[in-house]
């Protein structure tokens, strides 16, 4: 028998039992649909986080005391501005080191209040991070040296507190103290679910006095190029460890952060895909079940075909092709619906769903494999039927 005939025969058999074929495919369709959508949502989330991290700036090294783990609360810091000065000397270029001291505080303008993240930092911030201004100016060296009560507002804070009014030169009250607005940042979006547009930047010295501490949370160092990152990272950590023997300091680069976050989200995507894969598996069991029913129903037909000269492998091919057609047609429909679903999710919700060619190829390959895997047992049963007994079957 020629391949084309086997194919035509199998298609014909599926067409004859249209409703049954459609219902059997439904299981595969739902499985493939789930795989495509969940993988695209997972991939989309990963892409989005990676974009956020890259959006911070380039060649950044973050230095914090203690052991750094993503998501864990920062340990009590012993870093101070003196340490920052020390690191500046180690790095060699003082402009490439900035500091950060964060605290949640209430900001008030007239009757309007908001709870925001106050970030104490210095004039070097913009040498390291991408933080464009919408209006006004950045914090200056004088602001830091003279502990000025000035603030640069994140885009959302500015919009919430001042609306259409130009905030430059106006007063805001932070934790009861009065600050003058000198600048407003442009919208930058969020990182790790925290909106950087809800920050208010003040001179680190002012922030220390306001909070009543002389520590800082961490340092950020900007490397001059990608090749500089690792040596610089090691140098800074070694220098701090030498200054404070027995204590631990961590430096993490954007690339490392990307790697960690990427693998966590990649794993999450894998778990989602596996869960969706289970439903595909259930669809495959349905195919197997229906093929067994079909073989039983068509026992006489199989006996006849054998009497007319069909070899075992002709019968095997016929039923196997039928099963694979069921799952691949179901797979293609599932892919089309899944891609449509992902596009709909992306345009109707905030969830970033991104469709990747490999997930589509994988979904198709898996559905074909499911057809072979679950079709082989029924097809073998058909192929091995004794023609004499099969012809006598009811």
């Amino acid at each position: 028998m020629r391949g084309r005939e086997a194919f035509v025969m199998a298609l014909e058999a599926l067409r004859v039992n249209r409703l049954r074929s459609a219902l059997t495919m439904l299981g595969v369709i739902i499985g493939v649909l789930a795989v495509v959508i969940l993988v695209s949502v997972g991939t989309g989330a990963k892409d989005a986080v990676e974009k956020q991290i890259s959006g911070l700036g380039t060649n950044i090294i973050l230095v914090v005391p203690g052991q750094l783990t993503v998501g864990a609360a920062p340990t009590q810091s012993r870093l101070s501005l003196a340490d920052a000065a020390y690191v500046r000397r180690v790095v060699g270029d003082p402009a490439k080191v900035t500091v950060s001291l964060q605290s949640g505080e209430t900001v008030r303008v007239g009757r309007t209040e908001a709870f925001v993240t106050i970030v104490g930092t210095d004039q070097n911030l913009t040498n390291i991070f991408d933080r464009p201004l919408a209006k006004g100016r950045h914090l200056s060296e004088t602001d830091v040296d003279t502990r000025r009560r000035v603030a640069v507002l994140g885009a959302e804070v500015a919009a919430k507190m001042f609306g259409d009014i130009d905030p430059i030169g106006r007063q805001v009250s932070i934790a009861g103290a009065r600050f003058r607005v000198v600048g407003v940042y442009a919208t930058v979006g969020q990182t790790f679910g925290l909106s950087r547009d809800q920050e208010v930047h003040v001179p680190v010295t002012t922030a220390q006095r306001m909070i009543g501490v002389d520590r800082i949370n961490g340092l950020a160092v900007g490397a001059s190029g990608p090749d500089e990152i690792q040596p610089l990272q090691e140098k800074v950590v070694a220098a701090l460890a030498a200054r404070y023997p027995g204590e631990k300091f961590s430096a993490v680069t954007q690339t490392q952060l990307l790697g960690t976050i990427g693998s966590v989200l990649g794993m999450l995507t894998g778990v989602l895909a596996a869960i969706a894969g289970i439903s595909l598996l259930v669809g495959g069991v349905g195919v197997s079940n229906i093929m067994l029913v079909s073989v039983r129903e068509r026992t006489r037909e199989i006996g006849l075909r054998k009497a007319l000269g069909a070899r075992q492998r002709d019968v095997l091919a016929q039923f196997l092709i039928e099963a694979v057609l069921l799952t691949t047609i179901g797979g293609v429909i599932g892919i089309v619906l899944g891609v449509g679903g992902a596009v709909a999710i992306r345009s109707l919700t905030e969830v970033p769903a991104s469709i990747t060619w490999w997930s589509i190829a994988l979904a198709f390959g898996v559905s074909a494999a499911v057809g072979v895997f679950f079709g082989v047992a029924p097809a073998r049963r058909a192929a091995r039927l004794d023609p004499v007994i099969a012809l006598r079957a009811e």
């Binding site: 028998m1 004859v16 075909r305 007319l308 000269g309 069909a310 070899r311 075992q312």
Partner: protein, 266 residues
Amino acid sequence: MTRSEETAWPADLSISSIPAIEAVDLTRRYQLEGVAVDALRGVSLRIDQGEFAAIVGPSGSGKSTLMHLLGCLDRPTSGVLRVNGVEMSGLSESRLAELRNRTIGFVFQSFHLLARTSALDNVALPLVYRGAGRAERRSRATAALEAVGLGHRMGHRPSQMSGGEQQRVAIARALVGEPKVLLADEPTGNLDTRNGAEVMAILDRLNSESGVAVVLVTHDQEIAAHARRQIHVRDGLIELDTATAQATGQATGQATEGAAEGGRPL
């Protein structure tokens, strides 16, 4: 016979010298829940090219079992079977399927046509397993349907045809591959007298015109009378074969009575 002798003879004579089917001492034992049933207990028989033979015998005597063996649908428990000169015991499953496809045509009591499939496609089915192309299948199936007088029913499905017509489609299917032997197990069993007679007329005509050997099983004496040769089977043995009976000079009537004890004439 050597090859040179064969070519020297007229074509039809040289073909008829190889028997279409030759069975020597066939037995078939079924195992049914541990109990052995001997359906055939030693059957020897030779069907020549172009012969027309009827197998008769009581129910359960082993007629269908014999037909399945002759058609290579089943393998004997012991004994030798040669189909068109080919010894079947050494053949693999797929070679056996090929042998069936090329040399045997089956006609069944219950037609066994594929439902929801046109007469033409039903008839063309054996050619599919031979790897024939679409155009060839079509033209040969059309010719076969015309040969059984159904040129006007090619697009009909089994459910749209009478029983007689369905059996004629089945005969066309059996003949489309130009087999050496047509094996028909009670081909008229599901038909009324008129349709049965029509089917028999077609088998008669095909046998005499195309030279295909016909072996049919029947309970009907009138149907059996169409055949030039009658083979009586009882309890898994051949009780009487008119071909060998004539060869040994016995009268048919006497032989039937004489072999009633279940003797094995050979």
